[in-house]
Symmetry: C2
Subunit: 496 residues, 2 copies
């Protein structure tokens, strides 16, 4: 999960872009034409920052990115050979060592930055209806669910209670204070698939994920025995979506799981007819925090090696799938940036720093460690890029920072025009792991991607290597590499 | 699964229809126009079988079908309130009693036809890689799988063996005779999703399902310890597809499971790199055969009550989902035919016989019993309809019987024109449960449906009520009801 919950700015900008598109289709009309002239003059072809030689080098990096099999091969190794990489797991450690070795092999200067991470381990997770309206003798019904990340366990033999369904906090507040006491409370907030189908998956995610995070506190405050949420995601294949939940330290920690959209619908239907009782068994364990690492690999700058541009993704993943779209893809794309520089022998003025962040899924502990360890050095961070929204076809770049960045980067969008990645969209957020840097004024960036399908697989067992289109993965690598080169080789750092 | 494996005839006919469509688009050209005239004259608007009053009654039944909430409500009860209905299970018995009571409530004459059925019960089913190329210390990898119907169990503690992958029987035959001895053999035959996307899902199914059925014998004949098949279906959501498998009584019965497409790809990739060992645990039980029933409900004919037209679907389902598309939908559509006759008070000349078949998924025992019980009465069966391909928008009718049936039914296709169900496609097969009647010369029929999505859900946990579009369900009910009325009220029975 790359973004937190404030989407107003991005929404406004997307709306603005849609308006631009509409304006473009009205180009025959005099009024619209004058608007277009204004836009064109704002974003003029060359802004004098980069030389023709530099622009040509960017074109070569872009083309090399599209031909390079490196990211795909690395991603398949991370997902197939190493597998799921939950923070604190043996595979997460294996991935740290593997990526460090690969970066060393490319000639980068590698540093293992120690951090501590949550160590939560999934256990048994089953749901079964034990009574419901219309139930026949000896009948059973399975409820497909998965524990939310960080959930406490039920008793090992399970807990059995009545299920109460609410569609929203408003519905919950309308119930009598004791209505959910001792019961299993399901928040049936729907993921808006129509928004996602229009490419606004993060908008849909932002709307629904608040319940995933807040459910245990909302339930515990009313005495619920456990909470369920409708899966936050777009799949219709009886597939539960996991993800981190949160506890209020002042309240009882109650077990929390995510049911599939189908099972939520079933519970809605049956509870509308009468009393429904369910047995819920979750046996996850929260072990002592574990040692782990951010993998940092510097491709040293030729003029200002102390100044850095970060290219990054997060190396940890959820445990149900193998973390291909979230976020092996981001790590692989960032690895490929170093591979392309190594292959071409280019050393830009400033250092390009690869980072494979640890524990993004469970609180971004790696990123917090980085921020603390580099607190005296923020001024030397001239830019930070993270890819953590999958590997769909990129249509441009999200940027967080001064509005001037948009015009400053215009030549880059032209270099990326052959792959269709021309949009430069100002956003408050670019990536969770670089949000601390963003907050301290470091210009930050993310590929802007076709996200129509991301939330079908996100945080599920189906987040596997086959979901990756190798060409689109390379398009993202082209975006990250060209942008990183531009930030690292400009005469002056990007405006901040 | 409604059809067996011979699809040549249907394919040829679909190709013919595509040619017709192409011809239609060339209608401006003289040559094509003359072809069209020929077709039009063959299928003239009225063939004199039914009166204008009867045609008007069909139109009223069609319109009433589209407005009726009965099928949807019944289907939701079967799937949500009763749940999975595996042969021999308590829920299958509950469904028998429920459907019989519903048919009695409509005024039909109900008969419970006793049959015996397989009683196979799914157990634990897990797959785990225990060693593979690139495996790190303490690493684990889950293989998502489900036992095939009828599979024997592994030892309770599982069996661990090397995995060998073959893409086809040809590949298997190319291996040395001992190559799979003691090993777990995966047949990686792909379900052709491109065929399915073109509406030829049954073609794709027919190609791949032979391995699902034949795998245990192929494996056992070479000494394999167990067999796996790549799931026969189109889903890309880490969803295993179950379905019946077969044993050769001359050979050792070895455990058989279906892995997801993703897990098959993983095994292909890892075995291409070196040795892969897997622990497979399946604990299904094959219990003694159980008593069960076909539910038969006669809506008595006014002139020839001894002559019958069957409307049907199968009541049993696989156990992973709740059997909505396979085949609660078929049962509900057939129930609605009786509901519409009951509501309208129409009693056609002949009896319309509702049948909810039992045990289609595990060998069609119910249908075999029916055939044996009614062997002296086949001549009185003037037609049989089964819906067992989901509830997608119907584009016409499959028919098995004399070629004259096509012209004979032309007025029916005109009545169904407002819902787009105009195609009359001759097929060798219509439905598994009515194939015995077909073989004995009874004209048989099935709705011809948009099957692009059926095999995404077929035999999986995701075959649930939400997959049903209520309007399309009603369109199918319109097809079945109008056709049944036409067969039951024609002056003479359909040509046979």
């Amino acid at each position: 999960m790359p973004f937190s919950f404030d989407f107003q700015t991005r929404s406004a900008l997307i709306a603005f872009l849609l308006l631009l598109a509409a304006a473009s289709s009205l180009a025959q009309q005099p009024q619209a034409a004058s608007t277009l002239q204004q836009i064109t003059s704002e974003l003029e072809p060359s802004n004098g920052v980069w030389t023709a030689q530099q622009i040509a080098a960017m074109g070569r990096l872009r083309d090399a990115a599209l031909r390079d099999a490196y990211a795909t091969t690395e991603l398949q190794h991370l997902t197939d050979n190493i597998g799921p990489r939950l923070s604190g797991s043996p595979q997460a450690q294996q991935a740290v060592e593997y990526v460090a070795a690969e970066m060393r092999a490319l000639g980068a200067e590698v540093q293992m930055e120690k951090t501590t991470v949550p160590h939560w381990v999934r256990g048994v997770e089953t749901g079964q209806l034990v009574s419901w309206p219309g139930m026949g003798p000896d009948a059973t019904q399975k409820i497909v669910l998965t524990a939310l990340g960080g959930s406490v366990a039920t008793p090992a033999e399970g807990l059995t209670a009545e299920v109460i369904v609410v569609d929203s906090l408003k519905d919950l507040n309308a119930l009598s204070p004791d209505a959910v006491k001792g019961k299993i409370l399901l928040f049936n907030e729907h993921f808006d698939k129509r928004l996602a189908a229009q490419g606004l998956g993060f908008e849909a995610y932002g709307q629904a994920v608040a319940y995933r995070a807040g459910a245990p506190a909302l339930g515990a405050s009313r005495g619920a025995a456990a909470v369920l949420v409708r899966s936050v995601g777009g799949a219709e294949y009886r597939l539960p979506h996991t993800g981190m939940t949160e506890y209020d330290p002042q309240l009882t920690k109650i077990p929390a799981a995510s049911v599939t959209a189908e099972d939520a619908d079933l519970l809605v239907h049956l509870t509308s007819q009468g009393h429904v009782r369910m047995k819920l068994t979750l046996t996850p364990q929260t072990l002592p925090r574990a040692d782990s690492y951010n993998v940092i690999a510097d491709w040293k700058g030729s003029e200002h090696p102390e100044q850095v541009v970060i290219v990054s993704g997060h190396l940890d993943s959820w445990d149900l799938g193998t973390g291909a779209i979230d976020d092996g893809a981001g790590v692989a794309v960032a690895m490929q940036a170093i591979h392309l520089l190594s292959q071409s022998g280019i050393h830009p003025r400033r250092t390009i720093r690869f980072v494979a962040w640890m524990a993004e899924e469970e609180g971004s502990d790696g990123a917090q460690t980085y921020l603390a360890e580099h607190s005296g050095d923020i001024a030397n961070h001239v830019g930070a890029i993270e890819s953590d929204s999958g590997a769909g076809h990129p249509t441009g770049i999200y940027l967080a920072g001064k509005p001037e960045l948009q015009a400053w980067l215009h030549p880059i969008s032209q270099v990326l025009e052959p792959i269709g990645a021309t949009q430069l969209v100002i956003s408050k957020e670019t990536g969770a792991d670089i949000s601390g840097l963003t907050d301290k004024g470091v210009p930050s960036f993310a590929p802007l991607q076709d996200g129509r399908f991301y939330f079908n697989y996100h945080h599920t067992a189906a987040d596997t290597f086959d979901k990756i289109d190798a060409h689109e993965l390379n398009e993202n690598s082209a975006v990250m590499t060209v942008l990183a080169y531009a930030l690292a080789d400009s005469p002056q750092p990007a405006p901040r």
